[in-house]
Amino acid sequence: MGTQPDLCGFGTVTYMATKKVKAAGRVLPPVKTSRRTSKSSKLRSVDDLLSTGQRRELRADLDRMARIRRDAEATSGALRLS
């Protein structure tokens, strides 16, 4: 009759290893925010680059492309190439 290996400590070991890695510091240095121009404020999302109108146009174009793709894949199957 054997005993089950004690895995209870495994999660703790992993957690401590992760903390050590984080404590070692990042390789990439912080960004110098003083480089931001007077035209810009901090970006929270890439979409912040676009105006509301630009976002709307982009969204409409992307929706159209996705629909074209679905239609092409649904209707192209019957063409025979020989």
Partner: protein, 459 residues
């Protein structure tokens, strides 16, 4: 002599071939699969082996064949099937010198020549045998074998493209074959690890920088007016992926393109194709009026484009390009001095899109003079295995064969067509990096000068 074989000899001659070596009773893996699946079952006796003809640019003597000189200038080979209907089997011939800059899908094809390892850079070609495999099978095989030589998929012998096509989704007999439908090709390529992106002429997506299509009636065949196929094809060819083109009754493979300058007008794009019925490395001068210049054969209008791509390439290149243009222009306008907008207003700005392994993209960063911080940011960024890159290109510098890339937007290839996910955006002078936890690192300084592309394919 059949036209494909004549064309193979033309290609070898164009490469400067001085010596042809005929290797008899060669056991070719692709022909052996065809023999097993078909020729062994026919009434006439057909040999189970082939001949293979090798071409060299150097003049070689017979006693040099087993000990070649250090640089034998190998030009490739043609496998000759014993079948009178279709002599040209698997073929890897070096790209003709006048097309070297225009064939984007060439790969390294290793060859063992009597115990000596040789390599030829070529796009594989073959002729259909007309019974087991038709043009569609061979076109699919060209796309697949090219990918297998790049290490992206496991190799499949030629007969698999006939035997493993699902007969239940099309009418007609599997043998002798009457060709493949678009659905059969799509299923086949998906099963073989290269699920294709399908495009139908007349309903092609645009990124917004394509010229308007010519005026036409609503009943006109789209193959006679849909010039959007040019941009669609170029994006995949920029990435080294061949394009399978279907007309009403035939299939062939686009393997490259050439940009021809027309002063006062947009550049004219002509393509290079492999046509199993006419030979390798043939020009396509006008996709709307497609005629083979050597024979005068008039192709029927194009109907379908299939781009077999790696399984993790989910995002449409058109969606990446549309988003990339918007983000690049917007990011550029945030800088102290906008560079892209004045160029766009002067008609000098264009965008070029290609897919690349992110590791190769990172590797290329150091040699592009991006600036130390930008290179560090690129190399330490977490990127998807394959990325779409949308480059902002100065047309005038490109025409002068100078470094012409002013900026780029990098996209996750696993993101959705409806929400392409940018990972890096760089315009002249500054870049930003989108980290996987959602944080954005910006602004990071980068060069404001034009640099060369990260793509190994020069367009």
């Amino acid at each position: 002599m059949p036209r494909p074989f004549i064309r193979c000899l033309e290609v070898a001659r164009a490469g400067g071939a001085q010596t042809a070596v005929v290797e008899t009773r060669y056991l070719d893996q692709d022909y052996r699969s065809e023999f097993s699946a078909f020729f062994s079952k026919t009434f006439p006796t057909t040999p189970d082996s082939t001949h293979r003809i090798h071409f060299f640019k150097r003049a070689l003597s017979p006693d040099a064949l087993w000990r070649l000189p250090p640089d034998p200038a190998y030009l490739g080979y043609v496998v000759i099937r014993p079948s009178p209907l279709a002599r040209v089997g698997r073929t890897c011939l070096a790209v003709p010198p006048d097309l070297q800059a225009n064939v984007h899908c060439a790969v390294a094809c290793p060859v063992n020549f009597f115990g000596q390892e040789l390599v030829v850079t070529a796009v594989p070609f073959a002729q259909q045998d007309t019974q087991l495999g038709r043009c569609a099978h061979v076109a699919a095989w060209v796309c697949h074998y090219t990918a297998s030589l790049r290490g992206e998929v496991a190799r499949r012998p030629m007969a698999d493209f006939s035997l493993m096509a699902d007969p239940s989704v099309a009418e007609g007999r599997q043998l002798p074959s009457q060709g493949l439908t678009g659905l059969q090709i799509s299923n086949l390529m998906r099963d073989f690890g290269l699920p294709p992106i399908m495009y139908r002429m007349g309903e092609l997506p645009v990124s917004g920088q394509e010229p308007p299509v010519p005026a036409h009636d609503s009943n006109d065949d789209p193959g006679l007016w849909d010039t959007r196929a040019i941009a669609v094809s170029c994006r995949f060819l920029n990435s080294g992926y061949p394009i399978l083109v279907g007309t009403h009754d035939h299939a062939f493979v686009l393997i490259g393109y050439r940009r021809v300058r027309k002063p006062g007008s947009r550049d004219w794009i002509s393509f290079v194709r492999h046509d199993d019925q006419r030979g390798p490395y043939l020009p396509v001068n006008d996709i709307l009026n497609d005629t083979d210049p050597a024979t005068g054969y008039r192709y029927r209008p194009w109907t379908l484009l299939l781009a077999p791509v790696p399984g993790k390439l989910w995002l449409l290149p058109e969606a990446a390009e549309r988003s990339g243009r918007a983000y690049l222009m917007a990011w550029d306008s945030r800088q102290a001095q906008s560079v892209l907008r004045p160029l766009a207003d002067a008609g000098r700005l264009t965008f070029r899109t290609y897919a690349i392994d992110s590791n190769a993209f990172k590797h290329a960063a150091a040699g592009r003079n991006l600036g130390l911080e930008a290179v560090r940011e690129y190399r330490l960024a977490r990127l998807s295995r394959i990325i779409w890159v949308v480059e902002a290109v100065d047309r005038r510098r490109r025409q002068r064969h100078q470094s012409c890339v002013l900026g780029e937007a990098v996209f996750d290839s696993t993101s959705s067509d409806e929400a392409p996910r940018p990972l890096l955006i760089r315009s002249p002078g500054a870049m930003l990096s989108v980290q996987t936890n959602g944080n954005i690192r910006e602004p990071i300084p980068s060069t404001s000068r034009a640099v060369r592309s990260a793509s190994p394919i020069d367009c």
